[in-house]
Amino acid sequence: MASVDITAKLTELIVARFGVKAEEVRADASFIDDLGADSIDIVELVIDIEKAFDLSIQDEDAEKIATVQDAIDYIRDHLPA
């Protein structure tokens, strides 16, 4: 999957989950500080990502995903071949 497609799909998930506008979902946006999420929202988003991208994200990896870019990087590096 191309990086641009990952970003588009992830943006859709974030918009749906957090109720923010697509233009707010910048790469450097922090889920908590910029997108108003709390810890429960982030766990929900990780589940959304797992389902949408067919991934299995370990808790210790999930804890490191703090920004939109962190999520894009993780997905790109772990997408099934």
Binding site: R17, F18, G19, V20, G36, I40, E50, S56
Partner: protein, 412 residues
């Protein structure tokens, strides 16, 4: 001199409309809020009718917070916001330590339990939602309303099935009298309107199957009644200490005069013959209010439209009121709202407050032929004007639980 408690704000979401004035106008017009189930495909179900809250947008009310909460909490938040606004209280500023929230639910967020049970069965524990517990907890409506209005005083969630709203209002009355709070948002919320939720009551054979005429399905005291109509919504009242209400120039709808609670200790769902528990509860509420049976002008009955309740409740009213039972008027607004379960006591208290304000009693619609044992004046079909000074609201729940609240005209 004990502290007196008055009602200064009303808020309701119900099958009769999105706010309290709309519901009251519909009730006085004798309109039914019952229709065909739209929330899921029930076209092959034995029961295809319910009392749904229609046209409600949680996103418009709550924005992104909506998904955090289950349906019953949405209704609680909407009704509480309306009640706060109606009472002329600040909407933006926190209500503070003097303000409490006594808001219960019969069933709470059962949808969240069902969704996550399916998830668990399908994929194991990996994708259980972190929102599952907070969404399903029955006290989350009280919690969410407290957060929305900065009410940091006493908070309580009553879960006494169909008597929840009455117990919440009664316990709030007690708390304000005791000096634990100056103001309490009190009532009930119910939103377990989904296939499993309705299916459970259907399995008990408790629900009307009058699918071909939904608006005629809820017919308390009528010979043709065949069960209750499951409904949903919320009713929230602002209860306030009289002096505090007067000091801020609040409009007073009514006073809460008394309250009693007890248990039949008889059967999981059925009342005993003659509903002796309900009779004792009504008598005790009168005693707590310092009133005689003759003082009561109108009773908003529990009146569910089930075979089990209506005749027994009528007998209980006769037992308590004696000869005055023939002077008294009794109606069941569930004929129009359906049975809002844990929210019923909330909206019925609102109807009692508005009946006292407008000096008019809402009708029992669909009462074409009163059943044997149903021999009171049920205000059939049409609302009726009457001088109202004291009104009583009954609520009885599965588990044998009973709660009776008495309201009076505003203090002079």
């Amino acid at each position: 001199m004990s502290r007196r408690v008055v009602i200064t704000g009303l808020g309701a979401v119900s099958p009769l409309g999105g706010d309290a004035p709309t519901a009251w106008a519909a009730a006085l017009a004798g309109r039914s809020g019952v229709g065909r189930i739209s929330l899921w495909d029930a076209s092959s179900w034995p029961v295809q009718i319910n009392g749904e809250v229609r046209g409600f947008s949680p996103d418009a009310l709550l924005g992104r917070e909506a998904r955090r909460y289950e349906r019953f909490t949405w209704f609680a938040l909407a009704a509480a916001r309306e009640a706060v606004r109606d009472a002329g209280l600040p909407e933006a500023a926190p209500l503070g330590d003097g303000a409490g929230v006594y808001l219960g639910s019969g069933i709470g967020g059962a949808q969240a339990i069902a969704r996550n049970a399916v998830q668990l069965a399908a994929e194991g524990p990996r994708h259980l939602s972190p929102s599952f517990v907070p969404q399903s907890l029955t006290n989350m409506a009280a919690g969410a309303v407290a957060m929305a209005h900065g009410a940091t005083g006493p908070s309580l969630c009553v879960a006494t099935a169909c008597a929840t709203g009455n117990h919440s209002i009664g316990e709030a009355w007690r708390a304000i009298r005791d000096g634990d709070a100056e103001l309490i948002l009190a009532g009930g919320a119910e939103g377990a309107m989904f296939d499993l939720g309705l299916g459970g009551f259907m399995a008990m054979k408790a629900l009307s199957k009058r699918n071909d005429a939904p608006e005629k399905a809820s017919r308390p005291f009528d010979r043709g009644r065949d069960g209750f109509v499951m409904a949903e919504g919320a009713g929230v009242l602002v209860l306030e200490e009289l002096g505090a209400a007067k000091a801020r120039g609040a409009r007073i709808y009514a006073e809460v005069l008394g309250y009693a609670l007890n248990n039949d200790a008889h059967h999981i769902t059925a009342p005993p013959a003659g509903h002796a528990g309900a009779a004792r509860c009504m008598a005790r509420a009168l005693e707590k209010a310092g009133l005689q049976a003759e003082d009561v002008d109108y009773v908003n009955a529990h009146g569910t439209s089930t075979k089990a309740n209506d005749a027994e409740e009528s007998r209980a009213i006769r037992a308590v009121f004696g000869r005055h039972a023939d002077q008294l008027a009794v109606s069941s607004t569930k004929s129009m709202t359906g049975h809002m379960l844990g929210a019923a006591g909330g909206i019925e208290a609102i109807f009692c407050a508005l009946a006292l304000r407008d000096q008019v009693m809402p009708p029992t619609i669909n009462l074409d032929a009163p059943d044997e044992g149903c021999d009171l004046d049920y205000v059939p079909h049409q609302a009726k004007e009457r001088r109202l000074r004291v009104v009583m609201s009954n609520a009885f729940g599965f588990g044998g639980t009973n709660a009776v609240v008495i309201f009076g005209a505003p203090p002079a």
